[in-house]
Symmetry: C2
Subunit: 459 residues, 2 copies
């Protein structure tokens, strides 16, 4: 077995090199930062220090965790599986999945502390913020946990919050806010549309709001909001109001300029356009948001989501100091580090354009099939997903088994009022940025085949 093992190592290494050479602008990295693996003597005296100098090097991990190619997808080394094109979880890069298999390590050991700290700093780039007052957070949990962080720390009981409602997630965020004692007021719009700047201005003039929440992409409708436009209205009409963006389906695929647009909170989840398996809640808070938390009159309303517990931990990790409140997941954080290293190796503007182009390709096909989207106008249409009205008389249950036969997973409807009348197609991450995977064409072909199989006559 030793002999096999050694031979295997050589073979995997050569396979790796071939892959990398074929796609030079998409570096396949592992999360291990070898430059940070050395023993840090100043941190060693920290109360929680757990040390080691037997650190696996990047090359060793890379070689050992590289696995074989059994799929028909070009450029992928993953086991054959249906192509997941839903509004998250998305398809993952090989190196990201490999990082998920990183052997055990201490959550307060210096190798992981460095990776965690670097990953927090990477988030500053991803959210395009250079203000030292901005505070990144990475917590174990789902995107929903980010709402609890907002509602139980930055908002206080009795605070009024204006919730811009573009689908299911406006309702849920309202529920979360109310749980912690805030008073949410929803400003709605017909399905497929969004509140206008004038409506938002009127609402802001009618009442003093602690915060406005925006669902950047509501995955239940595929409706895109415009945080830049909303923030401009807020700063002009009600400058003390915080701007909170639920970017769960937008961070990593839609343009977000945290500092420039004057945003106060942007939150997301790992399994969306950030390209990492589910399990992480990811956020950026502005100095204003932190001030709102610090000046609250009552303690935070939650414990696991409490900034009192987490702020010092995040600040320590980013300063490369071991720190403990609750155990983070080294595997998920290393996977995030790997994905962000890939994402940030290409200009973000290029990434956003690629998502627009892939989305347009799908939306053009939808139109050519004689179908309409829930998002009625182009400016309301998200670039990481497409919500498609099905032909009269066809339900998701009629078409999804057929698209599945084509090897593609789409999502059914989610908006309560119309769930059986539409389907959702995701277009984020490697499925967009690595066109050699062929995922977008596969999606379009599957949709076409599925429609015909369900009895629809194409125009």
């Amino acid at each position: 077995m030793d002999a096999d093992g050694r031979q295997l190592l050589r073979l995997t290494s050569s396979a790796t090199l071939s892959t990398t050479a074929a796609a030079p602008r998409r570096p396949s990295t592992t999360a291990t930062n070898t430059s940070t693996a050395s023993y840090n003597s100043s941190a060693a005296s920290a109360r929680l220090s757990q040390l080691s100098n037997h650190i696996p090097t990047a090359s060793k991990i890379s070689s050992a965790l590289r696995y074989s190619t059994t799929t028909t997808d070009k450029m992928s080394a993953q086991a054959e599986h249906p192509t997941v094109l839903i509004p998250g979880p998305i398809e993952f890069d090989d190196a990201v999945l490999q990082a998920m298999s990183t052997p055990s390590e201490s959550h307060v050991g210096m190798p992981f502390v460095h990776v965690f700290g670097d990953t927090l700093t990477q988030l500053r780039q991803l959210f395009i913020t250079s203000s030292p007052d901005s505070q990144p957070l990475i917590l174990s949990g789902s995107g929903t946990l980010g709402w609890d962080v907002v509602a139980s720390n930055i908002i206080e009981p009795g605070d009024e919050v204006l919730v811009l409602h573009t689908g299911y997630f406006g309702d849920s965020f309202s529920d979360c806010l109310a749980t912690y004692g805030a008073i949410p007021t929803q400003l709605g719009a017909p399905i497929g549309s969004r509140p206008s700047p004038q409506e938002i201005e009127d609402a802001l003039k009618g009442k003093k709001y602690k915060a406005v929440t925006i669902t950047h992409t509501d995955t239940s409708t595929g409706v895109l909001s415009d945080p830049k436009e909303v923030a401009e209205v807020v700063r002009r009409v009600s400058p003390g109001t915080l701007v909170v963006v639920d970017g769960v389906c937008s961070v990593g695929c839609e343009e977000i300029r945290f500092d420039e647009w004057g945003l106060d909170v942007v939150l997301t989840a790992s399994q969306k356009a950030v390209g990492v398996p589910a399990g992480l809640s990811i956020m950026m808070l502005s100095g204003r948001a932190i001030e709102a938390y610090k000046s609250r009159k009552v303690p935070p309303g939650s414990y696991f989501a409490s900034l009192k517990n987490w702020l010092p931990i995040m600040q320590n990790y980013e300063a490369k100091k071991p720190s403990y409140f609750a155990t983070p997941s080294p595997q998920l954080v290393r996977a995030l580090n790997t994905s962000l290293t890939q994402i940030l190796s290409v200009p973000l503007s290029q990434r956003f354009e690629e998502h627009k182009a892939a989305s347009k390709k799908i939306k053009d096909a939808v139109t050519s099939f004689g179908l309409k989207q829930l998002a009625s106008e182009e400016k309301f249409q998200a670039h990481g997903m497409t919500a498609v009205w099905l032909p009269e008389g066809i339900t998701p249950a009629d078409i999804l088994p057929h698209t599945a036969k084509e090897g593609v997973v789409f999502a059914g409807g989610l908006h309560k009022q119309v769930a059986t009348k539409y389907i959702r197609i995701g277009s984020m991450g490697v499925s967009v940025t690595n066109p050699e995977l062929g995922h977008i064409d596969k999606a379009i072909n599957a949709l076409k085949t599925g429609l015909v199989a369900a009895g629809y006559q194409l125009p």
Copy 2:
């Protein structure tokens, strides 16, 4: 590259077979349940159905994700890395790490719904409960999130809670309870000891408590509590009081009989004796605990930790029905399924005895080195970890770099009052159940070498 890929596959497969053949009673499984991979037509009409019939088979995943052997550890196929022997995260089985790399899939697709449902059912076996009223939960988060579930759902604002305090985690759980409005009363004991049954009885007679909380193993001190004994006192003296066990460092390595002992909540985290990377909060609730939640006068105090949101989801998943509140992590849940399949393939009583034996080996060595444990009496000593007083004048920072040179990661102190005076050694999971890994001997040798290198003269 194709040729390399194919050759690689054969080599990895043969390596796999060798490993499995050498350890027949520790089956190396993947989390993919092929029997559940078929298309379920009744569930297809569910609002959220996302379907596929191109399911990777267990053998394909197993072959494709199997990686090479580069470590000196016998029986392990993981990249060389320091042996992590802290009170969690623990060392992981190869198949568990492989499950972490499972390619993307829909969180509401039938293959994952079946795996999630099966995993919830496995928890009933792990916690030894056959009551249909018992309710398992698996949430994305850390073990700490389990406290929020208890404090914001089962306990109401103004409720009195008796916290049996055996270290750091009694303080933290008290903080969590107070956050949601409960009134915690700590019943303490000197460091290394625990409250006596008589003290608990006296406390229960003095006030009406909604719940008693027990830290089964307080990882800050290595002190073991006795939930069976405490539950007997509670049922006799104050039968309406709920018994809540923080089993973060005990579930999977200490005996816990949920029904037989009359427990109401037992909570844990994935990265401890359950043997899965960090990122999951795992719980079992009794019918009484659910009743306490259902009869509360005010809504749950949290949103992400709300049973109102999660109970229907867990019940649906276990009934193999797709359901959505917040996105679970397919990779972590599949890893948990893999680990529980391994754990439950051996009688739990045997597993508990193995942990006792490994723990005794370490504790005997500690004694032979002339050192004492924080847990003063044998019955107070946990079986998944050992907290060791260092010799006078030696701090964790003096010894841990030396033990690290031996390829072992131990943990420093955590109890605030004495953190610089002791270290902690974990002994859970594969490090215990797979003696061929040699981890326990490695720990003892590293401790000995480290003590000498730090200037201690062995007796």
